[in-house]
Each structure stands twice: as C-alpha cells, then as structure tokens.
C-alpha cells in the first residue's frame, strides 16, 4: 500500500478493467438477488406444488426413507422449516413435538420437519436434544424452501389441508402447543 513518489501517473488500464469489472459484477449480483426477491410467494389458498423430503435415519415415515407431499393427500400437513443454528427454533421445538404427539395417534395430521441450510451432525444433535420424533429431513438444494419462496428466516411453518392447499402461514416461532393446535383444528373442521 505504500505509495511511491514517482512521476504522477493515472490508473493503468488493467487496473481500471479490474475495478469496473468488480463493481459491475457486484451490481449484477445485487440485481439478480433483487429480481429473485420479486418472485411470487406461495400464498394462502394456493395449491402447494409437490416436493419430496429425504428423511434422516430414525426419522422415517412408516419405514419410508423419503416422503412426498402427494403421498399425504387426505391428511393435514404441517411443514416446519428449522435449523440447528436457529435460536428462535429452540423456543418452539418442544411445542411442535407436543402437538405432534397429540395428533400422531389419530393419523389425520402429519408433521414434517424441514431442516434448512444445516449440517447433519448438528441437525441430529438438535433433534435428539429436543426429543423430536416426527419425520425430519434436510432441504436438499433448498428446493423445498424455494417452492414456498418466503424464507424470511427460520422458523417458518406452513399448514396444508387435505387437498394440498396452503391454509395458514406462521412466520417466527410458536409460543405454545395450543397455538399450533388451534390452527390444525380449524383446518380439520373445514374438512
């Protein structure tokens, strides 16, 4: 960084090219991000496109190693996005599990934990720490989050009715199992 006191020269061409290339590259990057941010989000009342969630070992669904949304037609599906690095997720982990245990025997409601941007060891110790038992798996290639295209952060939870229509969106953590229950009951009642 030391400047030498030589005859005053301008910036060499190669440096100019580099500077302009870098600046335009950065701007292009932000522009692409902006365009992507303007993509439509999945809204309440819309049909949720099908997706397949690979499941962590020990978190399978009736022995299946992966689960497709279309397999769950006829059931209410609760899709919860979480991550092991996410502090607010810890607050709702026990509530989700409590709600799951309430509905699991009836078989009318399925909970899916979608692990957003995480590493498997961290994710597994998180699942073990909160004694979570419902099907859980990684969002490979963030394909599932991109279907919902909201992802202001984790946690986010989506409630899908028996015919595959998005009925309710919760941004941020739940504060009680009753809160989760209230949403599910309303969807179950609507038929």
């Amino acid at each position: 960084m030391t400047d030498t006191i030589s005859p005053k020269k301008g910036v060499p061409v190669w440096a100019q090219v580099l500077i302009w290339g870098g600046l335009l590259g950065l701007l292009a990057l932000v522009a692409i991000g902006l365009v992507r941010a303007q993509r439509p989000m999945l809204i309440v009342g819309a049909q949720v496109p099908d997706f397949t969630l690979p499941l962590y070992e020990g978190y399978d669904y009736g022995g299946a190693e992966e689960i497709a949304l279309s397999d769950l037609r006829g059931r209410v599906v609760v899709v919860n996005f979480w991550a092991s690095w996410c502090k607010p997720c810890e607050g709702e982990a026990a509530d989700l599990e409590a709600a799951w245990r309430l509905y699991q025997p009836g078989g009318e409601v399925v909970f899916l934990g979608v692990d957003y941007v995480d590493t498997e060891p961290d994710a597994r110790s998180y699942l073990a720490k909160f004694d979570i038992t419902y099907p859980n798996g990684p969002d490979m290639g963030t394909e599932i989050s991109r279907i919902f295209n909201r992802n202001l952060g984790v946690p986010e939870t989506y409630f899908i009715d028996r015919s595959g229509i998005l009925r309710y969106i919760k941004i941020g953590p739940f504060v009680s199992p009753e809160e989760i229950q209230a949403v599910i009951e309303a969807i179950l009642l609507e038929g």
Partner: protein, 668 residues
C-alpha cells in the same frame, strides 16, 4: 384536506431539491454566483418544508386519522401519545419521510456554514445532498406515499390511494392495526433515529469528498471541514447499534444481544468502513498519505449506507427483520448503481492528483499501524459482505440457497477483532514517521507486566477457556497501556507545571482533546469487549418447569417460583406475570418479574425478569404461558456473566466522543 396538503408539500420539496441540484451545477459551470445562491436557497427551503410535512403526518398520527393508510397501519386507539407520535418512523413510508427530514436538516446546517474559504466546494455539496434528498423524495412521492387514504370503490373493494378513484368514497376505519408490539419499547423509539442520524450524517463527508474530486481541490481541506460530521455520524451509528443490542436483550427474550442477522449486518457495514476512515484521515492530515484510500473509504461508506437501507427494505435478503417486500427495491438499486459508478469514475479520474506527498518509511510507525488497522477492518467487512452475499452467489452458481449462520461470523471475525484490540494498545505508542522496537518497548513494558499477569491470575482463579484467557489478556493490555498513557501525561504536567493530579488531568485532556478523547473511546471499546467475551464464552442456561415454591439452581444462584398473576392492561394487552425470588447461598437477593404480553392482534412479547449486577445478569424468561397454571410454570434462566460492561462501555464511549469532538477553536 390535511393529507392532500402534506402530499403537496412533498411534491413541492421534491421539485425544489431537483432545482437546487440543477441551479448549483449551473452556478459551477457558468461561474454564476446568482445561480449558485439560488440553488443554495432552494436547498435551505427543503428543511422547513419537510418539517411541515412531517408535522402534518405526526398530527394525523396523534389525532387518529385512520382514513390515512399509514396511520391505520402503525397506530391504534389504545396506544399512548408518545408511541403514536414516534410511529412516524414505525413503518416504511413514514421512516423514509423521517430520513428525508434528517437529510434536509443536515444539508441545511451545512449550507449555513461560512463558505468564504471553500466557496468552490459549495455547488457540489449542494448537488450531492440535494440529489440524495431528491432520491428519497422520489420514493415518497411516487412509491411510498405516507398520505394515501382508504377508499371504497363502487365495486365494494377497499383501495389505498392518494386521490379518490372514480365514484369511490372515503373510508375511515374505526381503529388502526397498531404498531408491532416488539417496537413498543423505549429502546425501539430511539434506536432507529440514531441509526438514521448516523446514516444520514455520512452523506455530508461524502458530499465534500465528491466536491473535492470534481473541483480538483484534493488537499486535506475536505477532511478538515467534515471531521466533526464524520465523528457525529460515527457516534450516532455506534449508539444506534448499541441501542439495537440493548433492545434485543431487553425485549426479545432469547438471552442474547446480537444474532448476525443480515439486517444487523447491514447496519454494521458502514460502521466497518467509517471506523477505519476516522483513523486513516488522521494519516492524511499529519502525513499527506493515503489520499486515494480515504476517498475510496468515504465513497464505500456512503454506498454501504444506501446499500444497507436498500437491503432492509427490498426483500433481497432472508431476515427475521421482516420488512414488507416493496416496489422501492429497483429504485434503490438504480440509485446505488448510479452513485457508485459516478463516484468510482471521479476517483479514477483524479487518481494521479491524489498521490501521497510522503512515503511510508517504517513498519513500526503510527501510520503503518493505522494502515494495518484499516486492513483488518476491511477483513471484517469482507467477511460480513461475504456472509450477506454468499447465499446469493451460491444460489446463482449452484442453484442452492445456503445461509451462513453465526458460527461462520464468530469464527472468521473473532481473530480479526483480537488483532484489532492488540493494535489499539500498540498503535497509540508509535510515533508518526518512524518508531523502533526500542521506543515501543520503553513505552510498553511497564503496563505490559500487569497485562501479562492477568491470564496467570485468571488461570489461578480457575479460568480454563483459552479464548477467554487470550481475550482478557488483550483487553488488559490495552487498558493498562492506555491508562498508563494518561498517567505519563499527567505525571509530566505535575512535574513540569507543579499542578495537582486533577488539574493536570483536566489540562492534559483539554490541551489534546482529540488524542485523549480517542483514548477514552479505546477504553470504552475494550470495556465493551469484556461484556461481549463474558456472554459469548461463559453464558449458561437451563430450562425447567417449576411448581410454586420449587426452585432451580444456576451458576450459584437459586431461583424460586413464588406466584403468578394474569390481568388485562389498560392498553388491551393481556399480561401474564410471574414473581420469582433469587437467592445466593441461602440469602435472599431480590424478586424478578418475567412476563408474557399477549396483544389483542395476537402478537406476543416475552419480557425477561433480570437481576443485574456488574458481575453478571440472571435473566429469567417465562417460556410458555398457556401451558402454565398458577401452580406450575416453565422458566428458562440464563446466566450472562459480565454483560453489563457492554452497556457501561457504551457510556464511556459517549464521554470519549464528547471529549474528542467538543467544539474548540478551529485549528488551521
């Protein structure tokens, strides 16, 4: 009538600011004093006009005019008056109006200064500030008008428009939606204005830098004029950041203060360039070096100010600070593109005029250390920018969206901050020009002894965490060296002038405010670092469900659950409040009252009950209120060692700032 009046003022101010820019530019190119003066006066008018517009909006807010969509979306009848008034910056369009108002205030203050010696800067300062203002007014007039009202169309739909659609009638809702409860906190009332003040104040040094580039007057005059502005911007930005941390700690109930959220980082980015800028301008003033670098830094800072505002408002980033996605993103993008391209072009154009007047001739000189400080800050900046932009890059390249979590930032930034702290200790000892190891050693060896004893003592007391040991050693190093610097100066005065201790200290500091104010700020920084190390390394937590009379133990404290009450507050929220007693060694210390507020709109807030001392905080959260009964309730308890030093450090920071920036006779 009032909303139309307010909107009319916005349109008028928008046109005026455009006129100011054009007139000032004409004044420069035609060397016409009349055009220039006309532009300056137009600029001066924007402040009273925007004061009026903001006043109208505040009046609409406090008088509950819910037919105005903005009033409807951020206030409700039950909100206290002060919250209704401060809801001016509680939503998107209001906060842009507030931003513009501050911008106009600063531009006015700058236009009113004496310009005799720097007349050539004036046109371009007016051009830059009024174009920036015009940009924000464009957003207000065309995209985010705070004065739109609710109308019902003949078809029965409700629409928010400024003027009545054909056949529509004005609708006045009975009550508003109210401000997000998370924002109903004293910290939230002053946190955004502080950040805005910091952001907006950085426009002034940038405007002077551009003026210097355009006019070719590339000596350090622009830096001397704007030194106080830069310091002011830096103070407000720093306070804004600390207040945000305090708010998060008090209100969010997760036991922390900083989560490396993209929006937090967006506010941190300009600070990461503003801080090295403050340091490296000193090199330019003293040694005539780093001129190009300083120009680059201030351009970068300004761009990051706009970029940070853009990031939080455009929905580009995934963030828990869930602002609405809005149409203003592309506008911001265009503005950033234009300003950065123009600034860089100007900088390259003047590059050869900005060559250093002197050479760096010692790696141990003050300027070499300052340069190292600059590079380290750039390192932190790159880490943060990378963390923010990486998900975008990854999505484009691999199709996967990957987010980096706090561990990435902590691992990457931690070591850089450690070296920065060490530099804070050494750099002030080095002389301008050149120092030798011998001179540095002579100044540093005495205070280094207690600093080196610190880890030994901490180890003997049972501290085994090596990060903490290294961190506290560095902190002690800076603290002792800086205090020793004060002592050396005081002792010299006491000997040579025969002054008493306090007189000597007062005179020492007042003779060289900038230096000793800076030292105080360094002390503030390491005091804050004590708090950060404490909570980051030693935080412990436990969660348990307690029956009345039962207790839990954490970090030597016993917390007993005594009782619980549920009641409705006058503002409509439903409060669940627990009473717990804290004991240590069987001795009663105090009661804490964690509570859970449920707002009528379903929003909730978890307010912790905190016992706070200089050594630690015991932070009790009522976890799950619906599951609880008067007899049984679950609690999460955090033990946060040393966290208070973070807040104490910020108070020392303000003191240091006051010393450094207190007006004194202008030095020429």
């Amino acid at each position: 009538m009032l909303p139309e009046f307010g909107f009319g003022i916005l349109v008028l101010t928008f046109l005026l600011s455009l006129f100011a820019a054009v007139a000032a530019a004409l004044g420069h190119f035609h060397t016409s004093e009349r055009w220039l003066e006309s532009g300056r006066r137009a600029m001066l008018l924007t402040f009273p006009l925007l004061t009026l517009a903001a006043g109208v909006l505040v009046y609409l807010l406090v008088s509950g005019r819910f037919e105005v969509q903005y009033v409807y979306s951020v206030t409700s009848r039950t909100m206290p008056l002060y919250l209704k008034a401060t809801a001016l910056w509680g939503g998107q369009s209001g906060s842009i109006l507030f931003w513009s108002w501050l911008m106009a205030a600063f531009a006015t203050a700058v236009s009113l200064r004496k310009w005799d010696r720097d007349r050539e800067f004036l046109p371009w300062v007016v051009v830059v500030t009024s174009l920036t203002l015009a940009f924000f007014l464009t957003l207000l007039v065309f995209f985010e008008n705070p004065f739109t009202r609710w109308w019902q169309t003949p078809g029965g739909d409700f629409v928010a428009k400024m003027f009545a659609p054909a056949g529509a009638t004005l609708v006045t809702p009975r009550d508003g939606e109210g401000l997000n409860p998370l924002l109903r906190h004293p910290g939230m009332i002053i946190h955004p204005p502080m950040l805005y003040l910091g952001f907006v104040a950085f426009v002034i040094p940038y405007a002077f830098a551009i003026a210097a580039l355009v006019t070719g007057r590339t000596d350090d005059r622009w830096i001397r004029i704007t030194r106080r502005w830069t310091l002011l911007a830096w103070l407000f930005l720093s306070l804004g950041l600390v207040l945000g941390m305090r708010w998060a700690y008090d209100v969010l109930g997760w036991g922390g203060y900083w989560g490396w959220d993209p929006v937090e980082i967006a506010a941190l980015l300009p600070w990461l360039t503003g801080t090295p800028f403050l340091h490296s301008v000193m090199i330019e003033e003293k040694r005539g070096m780093l001129k190009q670098w300083n120009m680059f830094l201030i351009i970068l800072t300004y761009s990051l100010v706009i970029f940070g505002t853009f990031l939080t408002r455009s929905g580009v980033l995934s963030s828990v600070h869930a602002f609405a996605r809005s149409a203003i993103g592309p506008m911001f993008f265009a503005f950033i593109a234009v300003t950065s391209v123009v600034s860089v072009a100007l900088l390259l154009h003047r590059w050869k005029d900005l060559k250093a007047e002197m050479q760096m001739n010692s790696l141990l000189s003050r300027e070499a250390f300052f340069l190292l400080n600059n590079l380290l800050f750039m390192g932190v900046l790159i880490v943060c920018l990378w963390g923010v932009l990486f998900p975008l890059i990854s999505e484009i390249v691999t199709g996967q969206k990957v987010t980096v979590g706090p561990p990435f930032y902590e691992r990457a930034v931690g070591p850089l901050l450690g070296v920065l702290i060490a530099l804070m200790g050494i750099a002030p000892l080095a002389a301008w020009g050149r120092s030798t190891l011998r001179t540095l050693g002579r100044a540093a060896w005495k205070p280094s002894i207690p600093a080196l004893l610190t880890p030994v003592l901490l180890f003997a007391l049972g501290m085994r965490n090596w990060i903490a040991l290294v961190g506290f050693t560095l902190i002690a190093f800076v603290l002792f060296i800086t205090l020793y610097e004060f002592w050396r100066g005081v002792r010299a005065r006491m000997k040579s002038q025969g002054e008493g201790l306090f007189t000597a200290l007062a005179r020492l500091v007042s003779r060289n405010r900038r230096r000793y104010g800076g030292y105080l700020i360094h002390i503030a920084m390491v005091v804050m670092a004590i708090g950060i190390l404490g909570i980051e390394v030693f935080q412990t937590a436990t969660q348990q469900s307690l029956a009345v009379g039962e207790s839990l133990d954490l970090a030597g404290y016993t917390v007993r659950y005594d009782s619980l009450a549920q009641f409705e507050h006058t503002d409509g929220r439903y409060v669940t409040r627990a009473v717990l007693s804290i004991f240590r060694d069987g001795e009663f210390l105090q009661e804490v009252y964690p509570r859970y507020d449920l707002y009528p709109d379903g929003q909730t807030m978890t307010i912790p009950g905190v016992r706070t001392t200089l050594a630690d905080d015991l932070y009790v959260v009522l976890v799950n209120w619906e599951n609880l009964s008067v007899f049984q309730a679950p609690f999460k308890v955090y033990h946060n060692p040393l966290i208070n030093w973070l807040w104490i450090g910020s108070l020392i920071f303000i003191l240091g700032y006051a010393v450094a920036a207190w007006p004194q006779k202008e030095q020429e």
